[in-house]
Symmetry: C2
Subunit: 333 residues, 2 copies
């Protein structure tokens, strides 16, 4: 529905409501239609109303309306494994014919055998080797093309849906609602910034310049075919845990007033956001819906939510129950 | 003049022009009134017209309209020394009473004696010590307050004007003109990102998230008074020379289609910008106006322009003559 149509219907609704003397609450006016009525939805609407009410005690100037969202597990599914990890494993499988030696070398041997526990057992060294062959040693343009081609076809191992179809419709509504209220919305993810940028604009409406993430080194080189940016194997920045407030300061330069996460990796981002002066909002997506998505928290390998769940009541962070708070999970539902 | 008034005058102008059959060129329609008519002004207008003409061969979608500006010497004066260096020296003078040992210790001894050559002679070590005491060992909030207080009163040593009054009015017009044509405009400076962010929005209309610059380390710490970001003495990123395309990729995530610089430190940013596919614009501010600002290029300590000036004709970069191209230099002129 266009903004114009919505506006017209809204005006008609108010007139009708006045005529019948009943409360006006048409679906067309609801900024969060995928949310069930309840404390979580109300917390979002109350917050946005408070900080945008000019002359009110909680008013925040447009320039300071910064909101940050974690990505994995907050905006899209991170089970049965992080999407970026699935990408790396797929790339290794695709490259394997040119690397016969991988059959006998870890971590590649475990990757090719589909043995995730074996990959995990190779630890930090193994992960660095996986990053080196799948994420580095190529230009930024080449990597962007590779990610774009992969994301267009790669499907979740358990649901067989495209990963970009496994985004959370209620959270995209929150992004749109905040943007409609003049918020500057950023993704702040532990995932690789260049892995996200090729598709965040189309998928969430978030431009590459508003994506903060982990990064590896880049080197400017002038080749015969012109200048390129080469991706190097060294880790440049880890945008996770205490790295998230650092990443926000580096890339945004302002302290957010609202933050959304789902795991202990978001603890410091939520803390940094909600301990600032004035009205603040911190929310945690709790994956408690095994039937429609996945159910996990304290014991999960991906998106472990333990310390942040314990801190939530004390810190005033709202737990979003996917099961109870969301009418729909995915856009296609 | 409001956009509305300008629009009304413009409509009247066209009607009058049609009536008298003369070319319509009212000042109110001129997006660059501080520029003299000539090749530089025309290059900017031609470029913007070309990339915004829908259906034209050079049309660029709004999402890809990225423009980057160097700061020192491109948007404001960098003589007789970089403004950030003046800030550091002022801070050392202010802190000196608490550090009697500085009278006998370099680089502080030379700073306090006003001996710039002596400071320069202390080299990289000296510079690092100056950064450590003036830019690190404090929270980001404290540094922001310090910069804000200093910039509100600090004056150029030669002209006695506020530094923020020594911005180049014609360049601010270019920023506004690009923004009015849906460009996303970034500052990409060798200067410290946190030194610029406190005043770029008010001074140039460029938000903190659109400022790319050099940075030192940040560390997230939880104190009794709440969480803080501590500034650490180690250099994190140098946004100069080949670092500029790297900084652009890190912070913007897209290749610019227009870039503006004034020194060899902007060489690679101009090269990265103008060697991309499609219509591109690269421009260099040439400081050739000793009467109204400063005249320097190949031999200058600050903003040396040598290699990039030689490359300009071959690369198609336009040299902007401050003397010939600009009607006014500073907003107060």
């Amino acid at each position: 529905m266009s903004m114009r149509m919505r506006h017209t219907m809204s005006a008609a609704g108010i007139a009708l409501g006045a005529l019948l003397a009943i409360p006006v609450a048409f679906a067309a006016d609801d900024p969060l239609p995928a949310w069930n009525e309840g404390a979580s939805k109300q917390a979002i609407i109350d917050f946005v109303t408070a900080v945008t009410t000019e002359g009110g005690p909680d008013f925040v100037a447009v320039d300071d309306r910064i909101a940050t969202f974690d990505n994995d597990g907050t905006l899209w599914s991170e089970q049965p494994m992080y999407v970026q990890l699935a990408f790396a494993l797929d790339e290794i499988r695709a490259m394997a014919p040119d690397h016969p030696e991988w059959k006998d070398t870890e971590p590649f041997k475990s990757v090719l055998a589909g043995d995730l526990a074996g990959v995990a057992a190779t630890g930090k060294d193994g992960l660095e080797q996986i990053i080196a062959v799948t994420h580095a040693g190529m230009t930024t343009d080449r990597f962007e093309d590779t990610v774009s081609a992969w994301i267009a076809t790669a499907r979740n191992a358990r649901t067989d849906r495209l990963n970009t179809e496994m985004i959370f419709a209620p959270m995209v509504e929150v992004i749109d609602y905040l943007k409609a209220n003049d918020f500057d919305v950023y993704i702040v993810s532990g995932g690789g910034v260049e892995f996200m940028r090729p598709w965040t604009e189309k998928t969430y409406g978030i431009a590459p310049g508003n994506v903060v993430g982990s990064s590896i080194g880049l080197k400017y080189e002038v080749t015969d075919a012109g200048p390129v940016l080469m991706r190097e194997a060294d880790v440049d920045f880890i945008d996770d845990g205490p790295g998230k407030p650092v990443g926000i300061q580096k890339f945004v330069g302002k302290r957010p007033i609202a933050a959304f996460g789902n795991s202990d990796g978001d603890y410091q981002m939520l803390q940094w956001t909600t301990t600032g002066p004035g009205r603040r909002l911190g929310m945690i997506v709790h994956h408690d819906d095994a039937a429609r998505e996945f159910a996990y928290d304290r014991e999960s390998h991906f998106g472990k939510l333990d310390k942040a769940m314990d801190a939530a009541p004390k810190e005033g962070w709202h737990l979003i129950s996917m099961k109870d708070d969301w009418k729909r999970i995915f856009p296609g539902d």
